[in-house]
């Protein structure tokens, strides 16, 4: 059973609980009266009091007080006071031994909110104490009885007011405690929610970090090293540990300054120059915005060995897009170098094995042709010419294959010097003239009056021009024309030198123009018209143009003709003049 205080704290005044105390006390009083054999002044008063008390107790127990108007339950305590009044009157009035029961309903009223209930209760007490004196003939009207009729309610009023005050304060304290408890519970709930959110964020962060680390560590073939702006290492992945042979634990927080040297491996001559500095500042000096700075270099490992690597440096940006550090991705290029060397060896081997027998064939053909002591018949000369032509064709094919292999291996270089392009174009025309004559194709050259010079490799550019002119003749039917022009194009300041080779040949389908420079690609018009070739000439020509910093353009109309334009840069470096 909950205590009164608990009931007060909970804010719910249990009417039935207080009434049951009253009822029990009333019953005890009756039992004591019976046991003690106290004579009744008149029994009707006792019976009325008992009836009132039972009615009040039943009402307290069964009426739905929460749904009834507030304050209506006070009637229970007033009925109790009246019941005690009847009991007192029936058991001797001022001399009754059970009159003290009056204190219980007065205390109940005292515990109600406000002072009015206790004042009204005390006034009611005055009435029921004075009434027997004034109305009951059996009760003598004495000064003592009158004083008792006034003094007892006065004491009850003071007691009730005191209890009311204490109850009010207790209630206020209980309310404050309750408010505090609610606030505490709310804070606790908020704290738990924040804690849950924090935990979720921590989980998310952990997952994100694990994902990032797993991605970085999965790149076992690349060393990935992240630094702050000052070069202090913040990330050192598994690939880096494997490459360098040191653990991330030892290097995180240390300054990143790998010992680097420029590339010295001549098997890959087209690799760009490497960093020349060894300090961190030189690593990031060439960084330009978000573009990666990719270099090839040799790094010296802690064990003293050297490793050929490609080192890509990039800027690392934070969420606010401000540079927060740098990222270095180091790729081991040793195997690539080995593969390049093997390819180089293969090219050398094939070169030797194919060109040596061709040397014999062509050399002995020449000896037979030059043998003045045993001159050949016209038929033999014609047959030998066929052999020589095909041997030369085979030699050209071997040359193109080897050159293509060199281009793919990045192993072809240029012997640049100041050259006059008119002579190169003239030589190409002269070289193609015999074939053009026999094919019934007109060759027309348009050369400028003023010399056009550039910084280039005369042999390679001659090869490119030869390819373009020979191709044009090959794809033009008898009666057609091949025009070669050399001029400067002022509308293209970057590549002002232009060599156009135009034909009135079979043309190239528009859908195939993009594929023309792919090795071994042949246009459908070429295969349909059985034009001989293997599809390497344009690959080589484009590679030569690119190596000179130029480009190769194609415009073609199927059935009408094609124009190849070799666009080249002008000028000669000051140091070479």
């Amino acid at each position: 059973m909950r205590s009164w205080v608990a009931a007060l704290k909970s804010g719910r005044h249990s009417i039935v609980e207080r009434q049951l105390v009253m009822f029990a006390s009333f019953c005890v009083a009756l039992v004591l009266l019976v046991i003690a054999g106290v004579p009744l002044m008149h029994s009707s008063g006792v019976w009325i009091s008992a009836g009132l008390l039972i009615a009040a107790t039943a009402a307290a127990a069964f009426l739905p007080w929460r749904s009834l108007p507030q304050g209506l339950h006070l009637i229970v305590w007033f009925v109790d006071i009246i019941a005690v009044g009847f009991l007192r009157d029936g058991t001797g009035g001022p001399t009754s031994q059970v009159g003290a029961l009056i204190i219980l309903p007065v205390l109940s009223l005292s515990m109600e909110r406000g002072r009015l209930p206790v004042i009204l209760g005390s006034l009611t007490t005055v009435v029921i104490y004075a009434a027997p004196v004034l109305l009951n003939e059996m009760v003598p009207v004495t000064v003592g009885n009158m004083i008792r009729a006034i003094f007892t309610p006065l004491v009850l009023l003071i007691t009730g007011l005191t209890v009311n005050e204490i109850t009010s304060r207790t209630r206020a304290r209980a309310n404050a405690e309750n408010a505090l408890r609610v606030a505490k519970e709310q804070l606790l709930q908020q704290s738990e929610e924040y804690s849950a959110k924090l935990q979720a964020q921590a989980d998310e962060l952990r997952k994100s970090t694990e994902l990032l680390n797993s991605v970085l560590d999965a790149a076992t073939e690349q060393a990935i090293i992240g630094t702050d702006l000052d070069g202090s290492i913040q990330v050192f992945n598994t690939g880096a540990e494997r490459m360098v042979g040191l653990s991330a634990q030892d290097l995180i927080g240390t300054h990143f300054a790998p010992p680097l040297r420029e590339v010295r491996d001549e098997s890959i001559p087209n690799l760009p120059p490497a960093w020349r500095g060894h300090d961190f500042a030189s690593l990031i000096a060439a960084l330009d915005g978000d573009r990666a700075d990719v270099r090839s270099c040799v790094i010296e490992l802690p064990d003293g060995s050297e490793l050929s690597v490609q080192l890509a440096a990039t800027t690392r940006r934070g969420v606010d897009n401000v540079c927060s550090g740098y990222m270095f991705v180091v790729t081991d290029m040793s195997e690539l170098h080995v593969a390049a060397k093997m390819k180089d060896q293969f090219v050398s081997l094939i070169s030797h094995e194919l060109r040596t027998p061709l040397s014999s064939i062509l050399g002995y053909i020449e000896l037979i042709s030059d043998d003045e002591e045993h001159p050949l018949s016209a038929e033999q000369t014609r047959y030998l010419g066929t052999v020589e032509r095909n041997a030369n064709r085979l030699l050209r094919l071997v040359g193109e294959l080897l050159f293509t292999a060199q281009v793919e291996a990045g192993g072809f270089s240029l012997d640049k010097q100041p050259i006059g392009l008119a002579a190169i174009v003239e030589a190409a025309v002269e070289s193609a003239q015999p074939v053009a004559n026999s094919a019934g194709v007109d060759l027309v050259a348009d050369l400028p009056a003023q010399p056009i010079t550039m910084w280039g490799d005369a042999v390679r550019l001659g090869q490119a021009c030869d390819n373009l002119v020979a191709n044009a003749v090959k794809f033009t039917k008898p009666g057609g024309t091949v025009s070669i022009s050399l001029h400067e194009d002022p509308t293209n300041p970057e590549l002002p030198i232009r060599i156009d080779v135009s034909d009135t040949g079979i043309g190239i389908p528009a859908s195939e123009i993009e594929k023309l420079s792919a090795p071994f690609f042949r246009a459908t018009t070429a295969t349909r018209n059985a034009v001989p070739g293997v599809g390497l000439g344009l690959t080589i020509t484009k590679a030569i143009a690119s190596a000179h910093g130029g480009s190769l353009r194609v415009t073609s109309i199927e059935g009408s003709g094609t124009t190849f334009s070799l666009l080249l840069p002008a000028g000669v470096p000051a140091a070479a003049e």
Partner: protein
């Protein structure tokens, strides 16, 4: 007026057909084949043994390459003045440069015309021996 004097020339190639072509070219130029070596070490021994004015060496030979033979000839005071022509199937610029770097006077690529080789021989031998590298 140039008077051609028959000089003794060493030729070296592991391919017998090419050796014969080289011999014809030497003969066409009006000179004499002192020895036809079948590999690099054979060529070096012959160069030290025979009194020769010129050595025409294939680059890719067993035992010693033409480049190694050329370097050895240049390193030996007795043979340092021999004119050396390297003949190779290697057409890469790096191969040509490697030949010239070891002191060869001329680098020819296969296939070569016997007629053209004869002209080269004449051109190199008709000049004073100490003219140095013409390439």
């Amino acid at each position: 007026m140039t008077v051609t004097v028959s000089e003794r020339i060493l030729i070296a190639d592991d391919d017998p057909d090419i050796r014969e072509l080289l011999s014809v070219a030497v003969s066409k130029a009006g000179h004499e084949v002192a020895y036809a070596a079948v590999d690099g070490s054979d060529a070096l021994a012959a160069a030290r043994r025979e009194s020769i004015r010129m050595a025409i060496l294939d680059v890719s030979m067993p035992n010693m390459t033409g480049l190694e033979v050329c370097a050895a000839l240049r390193a030996d005071p007795r043979t340092a003045g021999v004119t050396v022509v390297l003949v190779s199937a290697g057409v890469q610029d790096s191969a040509v440069q490697a030949g010239l770097d070891v002191g060869a006077d001329r680098y020819l690529t296969k296939p070569f015309s016997p007629r053209a080789l004869a002209r080269v021989i004449s051109e190199l031998l008709d000049r004073p021996a100490e003219n140095g590298n013409l390439s």
